[in-house]
Symmetry: C2
Subunit: 390 residues, 2 copies
C-alpha cells in the first residue's frame, strides 16, 4: 500500500428536497453568487426557480451564466471568469451535472489567477487559490460534486484535458435523488458507465497489499450493477436512484483510490473520442474500457480473475485463468448492453477512420505514455482503438 | 434510504514514518500543545521522543498529560481540562488509541465550557465549541481518529457513556502502520472485533433501499476477516497491518452509516461489561454481538441470510433460512475464536452473577430501550446476557 493523504471536506447534504437549503449553504460563503448551469433541462425545469428563490430568500445577489454543455468548453469558462471578476462574485454555484461543475471549477480557479486559466490544464501553473464552489447536483455520473478534479475541452485543437487540486473540492453539494427521476434512460446509463469507470481506473493497479481497497471497489461495482437496471426500469423509484446517486459520489471522492497507484489510461483514450465525435463520455468509456481490458490483462492475470469472480460472480475455471478473465470482460460488455450502451465504435456509429490521429493526440505525438497498470505508448493506444472497432 | 448530511474533514496522513510530520500539522492550530497519552507502551517506546522532537522543531510548547487508560475516566478528563485552561492550550494532541483520543476529545470540549463536562454525556448540554484535536494513532480499533464520538467512564457509579458531535472530529490523524507492529496479538484481535462491531452496528438496520451501503459494509467485513489473521500471524508485515489500520478508520468515520438507521444496542450492552469487569471493549463485543444476533434475527431473517451468504460465504439453504442465519452467526464466533477472542462470558472467566444489574444499568432502570433494529427493554437485554453466558 502506498502512503497517502486523504480528507474529504465537501459537506454532502443528501435527500428529498435538499435543494431548498441552497440559500442557507451559499450564504456561508459570501453575498454574491455566480449561478452556472447548462442547457434546456435546468432552464425549463422548476428547479432553477426553486434555487433562485432560496438564494434570494437568503439575501444573496445572483448573476447568471448558462450554457454549460457536455465536454465543457474553455471559451465559456473564460466568459465566466470575466463576468465573475466584473461582478465581484464570492461563490460559484453549479446547478447541473459534471459539465456545469467542471466548468464552475475552472471559473473558480481562473478568477484569482492573473494568467490564462488553461495554464493549469497544460501543467504550466500551480493552483494556489480558488473561489469557493457549491453544487446542486442533477446528474449522477462525474462525481465532480465532491472530487478535486475538472475536465475542460479547449476548442483550439479540441484538446480535452483534466486538472485536479484539493482546493477545487466543492464546499457543499446538495443531492436530491428526486431531481434525477426525469433523467432519460440513456443518460442514466452513461452516468453509470462513468462511475463504474472511475472505480475501475482505481481498481486496476499493480500496487500490492491493497486488499481493503479492492473489496471496497468490488462492492461499489456490484452494487451499481444491481441498482442501475432498477433505476432505468423504474425511473421514479427513489431507492435505486438514491443508491446510484450516492455511488457516483463515492466512486470519485478519492476514498476508493487511497494507497493505490491509479491508472486513468482509459479516460484519456476516451477523451479523444468525445472530443472528436458527438458521443457522451460514459458511452465512450463503455467502448474503451473492455478494449483496454483485453489489451492489458496479461500484465496481471490474477487481478483480472479476481475482478471476474468477485464483481461478476464468474464460476472460476481454475485450470484456465484466461477463460475466467475473458468471461469477466464479456459480462461487463453484457452489462453495458443491458443498460443500453454501445461497447464498440461500430455500435456507436463511429467510423474507424481517425484512430491513428486519436492515438497521436492521446499520447501527444508519442511523447507521453498513458496509465500505470501497463504504460501505453502510441502504438498500444492505437491497438486499443482497433480492439474497440467491433 | 434516509436523508443525511456527511462530511469528513479529518486530514488523514497515512504511511511509513508519518508521525514525524506531527510538528508541522500541529503548528497549523496554535503554539501550545497538550500532549495526552496512555500508559507504559507510549512512554517506553521511542515514539514519544520522536513526537516531542517534531513538536519542538516546529517551535511548539508542550504540556504533558499521561495516564489515559482503557475505558478512559472522567477524573483524568477533569484534570486535563484544568491543566489546559491554566496553561492556555491551543490544541489537544492524543498519542495512542481510542482511550487517549476519547479522553482528549472530552478535554477539548470541556475547556471552553463553563459547566461540568459530564453534562454533554448526560445529555444536559449541547456542544457549541471545542478546542482542536490532533492524533498520532497507535492502535487501530476505535476509529476515534476521524470519528465525531467519544466514550468516557464516570467512576461515580461506573457509568460508561458516549457522546458525539462533528465539532469533535480530529483536525488531523497521523497513521503509521509500523507503529502497530508491536501490538500484542490479543490487543490486535480486540481492535479487529471493535471495528467489525462498528460496521455491524450500522449494517443491521431496518431501513430499506440501502443496497450500496450494504455492499460496502459487507466488503469491509470480508476484508477485515481476510487481513486480521495475517496481521496476527505476521505482526511485522506492513500490508495486513496497513489494511487493518485503514479499515478501522473507514469502519467508524460514518461513511458506512449514511442513509441508515443505526443500531448500537450491542455497544451499550457491552459497555456495562467493561465498566464492571476488567475486559477489553473488543473482547466484550465478541461476546455480546453473537448473542444479540441470536436474539434479534427473527425481526428480519432475510438481512441475516444476506449477512451469512455475503460476508461468510455460507452456502445458502434455500429451504431453511434460519439454518443459513445460524451458520452465519456460528462462523462469526469461529472467526473470533480463530483470532483468540472469547465469545462467551464463561470463556472470558466472567461469572454470570450480575446480569440483572447490568441489564438494569444498560436500560437506566428499564426507562429506555436500546437499539433500533429491535428496540430492547430490560428483559430483552437480560435475555441477551443470558445467551452470552456460554
Amino acid at each position: 500500500m502506498l502512503d497517502f493523504t486523504f480528507s474529504n471536506t465537501t459537506k454532502i447534504i443528501f435527500g428529498r428536497g435538499v435543494e431548498e437549503q441552497v440559500g442557507k449553504e451559499a450564504a456561508v460563503w459570501g453575498k454574491k453568487v455566480l449561478l452556472h448551469y447548462g442547457g434546456g433541462h435546468i432552464v425549463k425545469s422548476v428547479l432553477k426557480g426553486r434555487v433562485v428563490a432560496s438564494l434570494q430568500e437568503a439575501g444573496l445577489e445572483i448573476v447568471e451564466l448558462g450554457g454549460a454543455q457536455p465536454n465543457p468548453r474553455l471559451s465559456l469558462v473564460k466568459e465566466g471568469i470575466e463576468l465573475a471578476r466584473k461582478e465581484r462574485i464570492d461563490l460559484i454555484l453549479a446547478v447541473g451535472g459534471g459539465s456545469a461543475i467542471d466548468s464552475a471549477k475552472a471559473i473558480a480557479m481562473g478568477v484569482p489567477y492573473e494568467g490564462d486559466v488553461w495554464d493549469f490544464y497544460a501543467g504550466k501553473a500551480k493552483l494556489k487559490e480558488s473561489l469557493p464552489i457549491g453544487v446542486v447536483l442533477t446528474i449522477p455520473a462525474a462525481g465532480s460534486e465532491s472530487s478535486p478534479s475538472t475536465v475542460i475541452t479547449n476548442e483550439d485543437g479540441l484538446q480535452k484535458v483534466g486538472f485536479g487540486s484539493i482546493l477545487l473540492r466543492p464546499k457543499f453539494a446538495l443531492m436530491n435523488p428526486e431531481l434525477t427521476f426525469s433523467l432519460p434512460a440513456y443518460q442514466t446509463a452513461c452516468g453509470v458507465a462513468d462511475m463504474m469507470a472511475h472505480i475501475m481506473e482505481r481498481y486496476f493497479t499493480r500496487e500490492p497489499d491493497v486488499g481493503f481497497g479492492d473489496h471496497m471497489c468490488e462492492a461499489a461495482l456490484r452494487s451499481i450493477i444491481q441498482e442501475a437496471p432498477k433505476a432505468i426500469a423504474e425511473p421514479e423509484n427513489y431507492g435505486p436512484r438514491a443508491n446510484i446517486m450516492w455511488a457516483g459520489t463515492f466512486a470519485h471522492n478519492d476514498i476508493l483510490g487511497v494507497g493505490r497507484s491509479e491508472d486513468w489510461a482509459s479516460h484519456n483514450i476516451e477523451h479523444q473520442l468525445s472530443a472528436l465525435y458527438d458521443i457522451a463520455h460514459g458511452a465512450g468509456l463503455a467502448i474503451v474500457f473492455p478494449a483496454w481490458m483485453k489489451y492489458v490483462y496479461k500484465q496481471d492475470v490474477n487481478r483480472f480473475v479476481q475482478f471476474a469472480v468477485r464483481v461478476f460472480n464468474v464460476e472460476q475455471d481454475f485450470h484456465n485463468p484466461e477463460r475466467t478473465v475473458l468471461e469477466g470482460i464479456r459480462r461487463l460488455e453484457d452489462f453495458f448492453h443491458r443498460i443500453g450502451l454501445p461497447t464498440t465504435l461500430a455500435e456507436a456509429g463511429i467510423a474507424p477512420d481517425r484512430l491513428a490521429e486519436m492515438a497521436d493526440m492521446a499520447t501527444a505525438g508519442d511523447t507521453v505514455t498513458l496509465g500505470s497498470f501497463m504504460p501505453l505508448a502510441k502504438e498500444d493506444v492505437l491497438a486499443i482503438y482497433e480492439l474497440s472497432k467491433g
